[in-house]
């Protein structure tokens, strides 16, 4: 790709990106001059929001149910592939992406509910190791189901027509879609704040995280709450998958890629803390976006380095509760 002086993020590059000729990393490092730092900041923000969508689901499930859901990345992948199928199915309709945005996360959340109801429910009172193992097994199972239905080819989801444009400010033009992702992230963060702090269900959620028996004694169906919480987390995972789908090539390895990053985010933020997840997602997203300028191929190592520092200095994470 040739550089064009002055104008950053040339349209052709972006189209290439959509067609899968240029990887995210290459795309992000097209222009390295100082004015592009702002562009880097925006793309980091974008990444951070997707990470937050994922990590919030992971951390809610852990906070309430004390289960680390290893299969969370698989929900993300499932969401993305469902988005592909739905946009293919409604290919003639202009609003196909919006259909996918509504329907795919709902389907994923139903899968999540099924998983919780059929599998996880049986072993809440048993060893924690078994719970981890069960969700770990789901990575294999869901991964192969996706391979069965969609095959091993790379898939591309087309961008919604309304969001194909660019926005120019401070001399840089940004794909409109970036701002859509950021808006979704902010929206989800606000809704989570609302649900947890204000609604009755949110209070119950927090109460069953602290004292499960007490909530049960008050006559609430904690098992039901757990199922709904798990479905909510799966929905968030599916949503993240749909949102990211138009910007990447869908491949079978994407579940592991995202879950590892999510793990690092929750380690940095503190497992079980939603605001820790948000803070850590912002830090990691930006760290990655700027890290790419320094070490293009190994930008992930910065995130690992940060996680290592956090483990040494503050083992419970930035906003996590210190271990009793």
């Amino acid at each position: 790709m040739k550089r064009r002086g002055g104008r950053s993020l040339p349209r052709s590059t972006y189209t290439n990106r959509l067609q899968g000729n240029v990887t995210w990393a290459e795309y992000c490092t097209m222009e390295l001059d100082f004015s592009n730092l702002f562009a880097q900041f925006i793309s980091g923000l974008c990444r951070a929001m997707v990470l937050f969508l994922m990590a919030s689901g992971l951390t809610i499930v852990f906070g309430v149910m004390r289960v680390v859901n290893f299969a969370h990345g698989s929900f993300y992948m499932l969401g993305a592939y469902l988005a592909y199928s739905l946009t293919q199915f409604y290919a003639s309709s202009p609003s196909r992406f919006w259909v996918a945005l509504i329907v795919a996360p709902t389907l994923v959340s139903l899968v999540g509910g099924l998983v919780e109801y059929v599998l996880l429910r049986r072993i809440y009172d048993k060893d924690h190791l078994l719970q981890i193992l069960l969700t770990y097994a789901l990575i294999f199972v869901l991964g192969d189901f996706i391979k069965m239905f969609w095959g091993v080819d790379l898939r591309i989801v087309s961008m919604p027509a309304a969001l194909e444009g660019f926005i120019t400010f401070f001399g840089n033009s940004f794909p409109l879609y970036y701002f859509f992702i950021i808006a979704i992230g902010v929206l989800v963060a606000l809704s989570l704040l609302f649900i947890l702090k204000i609604t009755r269900f949110g209070k119950l959620m927090r109460a069953s995280a602290e004292h499960r028996e007490m909530v049960e004694m008050l006559g609430y169906n904690v098992r039901g709450i757990f199922t709904v919480v798990f479905m909510m987390a799966a929905w968030l995972g599916g949503l993240a998958g749909v949102v990211i789908a138009p910007t990447v090539r869908l491949s079978l390895g994407m579940d592991m890629e995202i879950i590892i990053e999510c793990f690092l985010v929750v380690i940095i933020g503190g497992l079980g803390s939603i605001w820790g997840a948000l803070l850590a997602a912002l830090i990691t997203g930006e760290l990655y976006a700027f890290g790419i300028l320094v070490l293009e191929k190994y930008a992930m190592t910065f995130i690992y380095g940060l996680a290592a520092v956090i483990i040494i200095l503050r083992p419970a994470g930035l906003l996590g509760k210190q271990a009793h």
Binding site: V68, L129, I132, L133, A137, D144, I267, M300, Y304
Partner: protein
Amino acid sequence: MEKTNRTKLLIGLAVALFSLALPFVLEQCFSQYYVYLTVKIIIWSLFAVSFNLVLGYGGMMSFGHAAFYGTGAYTCALLLARASWPMPAALIAAPFAAAIVGLVIGYFSVRIKGIFYFAVLTLSCSQLVYIVVFKWRSLTLGDDGIQGIPVPSFISTLETYVYCYFFILIVSSLCIYILFKIVRSPFGLILRTIRDNPERATFIGVRISNYKLIAFAISAFFSGVAGALFVLLETSVSPDILKWSVSGEVLLMGLLGGMHVFLGPIIGAAIMVLLNSFVTSYTEYWGLFIGMTFVCIVLFFPEGVGGVVRAKWLACNQRKTF
């Protein structure tokens, strides 16, 4: 007392004769492929037994042992192919490299309390090793892998796997014997104490994290040996060996065979390798199979095959004494 010693000697002799005759019988009656599978079972057995030091005896569920297996393999492969070291030197250097990686990953993983963090960290760190090997094309050739690694002809020949079998059998048996001694030593006892009752272990003055870290490094060391042996068998290596699913497979071997029985993982390794060769010849959905097996073990028999067999055996013995 004398009687048990004689039985032990007889069993030992029988096992030795069996393992001596096995490759020749397999070669004559079946094909080279079965000798190859047997060697693979031996390598995976060593890997699974060393992994079980962490899982069964240390009570730590590591999801990242592929990192050590792969580090051992890549160190051996690079030293042989790039630095043209003699084979014994490479074979000795490989586990040390794996142990160093194990010390680094272990240092961070045992630092935070809680099995969640341990699981998450081991998985993430092993993925980092994978990423580095995958992307460092100038050294590791990336996803092409390293082919045609020069292995001395007394181990690997094109015609037969029998030499390979004996070499790997001897090295693996030696390593498994050392691991057995470690498990039976005071160190192993403390490890089990930590697993069963960490508070009490702290109370009697045991530094838990140190012991866990040492156990983790030892486990990494022997996983590294297994990785190096894998290179001698295959004479090639690719980043697939570092994939997260490899950690899953060895974990499943430990669980399937029974993590509280020392030789349990060997049963698990044998079942898994044979099933793998059987299943993958019919379908490409090996992962689905692994996942389903995991689910069945977790829900229905968490003690594994070895645990079930041992329980039956103990029950039998008890009936005799009454």
